[in-house]
Symmetry: C2
Subunit: 306 residues, 2 copies
């Protein structure tokens, strides 16, 4: 079984390292960061934290170096999905299935413009890049995957991938409808990520500081109202994800705060922006998500407009 990780950052590396250990899997990783790819090829990919090990695998900045794969796992930042899959599409054919494990909503739609069979996915494991070839695995957790509805992905493909990931040590649940899991994670992300990114507070501090705890709750309620209006039944309570993240050891900085500290464009369009857009479609007001979206866009703007 050949698998290609598209986007080998923190989350992509957690998937790559686990799958590369599995007998019967030939793992390839595509990423545009040259130093990272070089370090992985020279010394292996080193994971530390929740699980700590170093594993050899084939990484490349050039999709032409990757053979046709049975599965793709896309783990780029949402803002890079379009460019990444345009380059990586050649790795997949009509029998392949490509699964997003990215944040936010809207990624599967982009993947489906380039590949035939798409799997909707949501993952909880989180980490951060320590150095080229080295990734901190900060938070463990489940992954939920299901068919992307418009591509009529067969459930056996979903189950095969879920089984493979679970055997690799990343517990994955195959669902007939994975939208609820994705929206639970989306609502969790949208309610906490920009709060940390705007204030510099790590996730536990956002959760326990009373004024932001109240704001997080209000943001969650807006997201829940939007999901409800679209007939999406959440898979679990976003509040449980908030608490789970806060209990994780260490002081994990949410990915959006990591982006802000590195002055990289964030995924806010795919998080709060998506909630606002889906809210507008259903006539549900989302003033707080819109406010946080506006503040994040302004913060990004300030880097080029000091």
């Amino acid at each position: 079984m050949k698998v290609c990780i598209v986007g080998c950052g923190a989350v992509g590396s957690i998937f790559a390292a686990h799958l590369a250990r599995l007998d019967g899997v030939e793992l390839h990783a595509f990423d545009v960061w040259e130093e990272h790819v070089r370090a992985i090829n020279q010394a292996g990919l080193r994971l530390s934290g929740v699980a700590s090990f170093t594993i050899r695998l084939h990484a490349t900045t050039n999709p032409a170096d990757v053979p046709r794969c049975d599965y793709g796992i896309v783990a780029t930042k949402s803002i890079h999905t379009r460019v990444a899959i345009a380059q990586a599409a050649r790795i997949f054919d009509a029998q392949s299935a490509v699964c997003s494990v990215q944040n936010g909503v809207g990624n599967e739609e982009i993947l489906a413009e380039h590949v035939r069979t798409v799997i909707r996915g949501t993952t909880f494991p989180a980490g951060h890049v320590i150095a080229p070839g080295q990734v901190g695995y900060d938070i463990a957790g489940d992954t939920w995957i299901g068919p992307f509805e418009p591509s009529a992905t067969p459930m056996e493909k979903v189950r095969e991938l879920a089984d493979m990931l679970t055997r690799a040590g990343l517990n994955t649940i195959a669902l007939e409808d994975a939208r609820g899991a994705q929206w639970t994670k989306l609502i969790f992300n949208a309610a906490t990520n920009p709060v940390g990114a705007l204030t510099g507070l790590h996730h536990a501090a956002v959760t326990y500081f009373p004024p932001t705890a109240e704001l997080v709750e209000a943001l969650i309620r807006e997201g829940e109202a939007v999901a409800r209006a679209h007939g999406i039944t959440l898979h679990g309570d976003p509040r449980d994800l908030v608490q789970k993240g806060a209990r994780a050891p260490g002081r994990h900085k949410a990915s959006m705060l990591q982006d802000v500290l590195a002055r990289r464009p964030t995924e806010v369009d795919f998080m709060n922006g998506a909630i606002v857009e889906w809210g507008a479609k259903a006539g549900v007001a989302t003033p707080l998500n819109k406010a946080l979206w506006a503040l994040m866009k302004a913060l990004e703007d300030s880097w080029s407009n000091p």
Copy 2:
């Protein structure tokens, strides 16, 4: 006529410098910043920008050095009003009148706990401290003053102070009811200051960047609803203050952004916090002001909780 400036930062210095030039005014300035006081006493107070001049005046860190004054002008940050007037109260007696030209609402109530006669004031001029003894005068504008209702301040006191300030070059309008002017400035400040402080955008950028322009408008509407519920007729449109500030030359950073860059506690409790509090009293929902208040409190918290 003896006048004491209580709090000789950017705005206090603009008032001090102008009043000190006026024949018949003996001007004293009280501030706790020793280097600033020493520089003023040694070389005079130097203003530059909208008006540029250097003027000698008596500054001190010790209110016991100041004789009894006819007028006080309080220009500390709102968070320092209580400590400042407790120290400075001895400068004033039953015939004196003490005027706040501070941001936000709630300062006059604190002054009235320590002095007999209080004047409600709101001022538009803005600046920034360049160095001890040197203040940049960034934005010109009017000042509006009126009786603080509970202290039954006579209008002749209000008019005498307004005339003095106007003659000194700071156009000041005496109003029977100055609450409308104060709320116009409050709503303007609460709608723009935290947006700049959270994003790093200077005032004009906050005004012209479409996502924040829309957020500013939504914040203004919440503030207007609260004022209306309390029977306060605004004196001018907060939107005009937004535009006026944006047209000012240079890239004036709003005072709250200056505070954030210096990691000083901000005035958000007296701005968005006050709108939330007054909204709650009148049963008016203010979710956006509350969100921005929470984010600012969290940002302040992050400095001691990294």
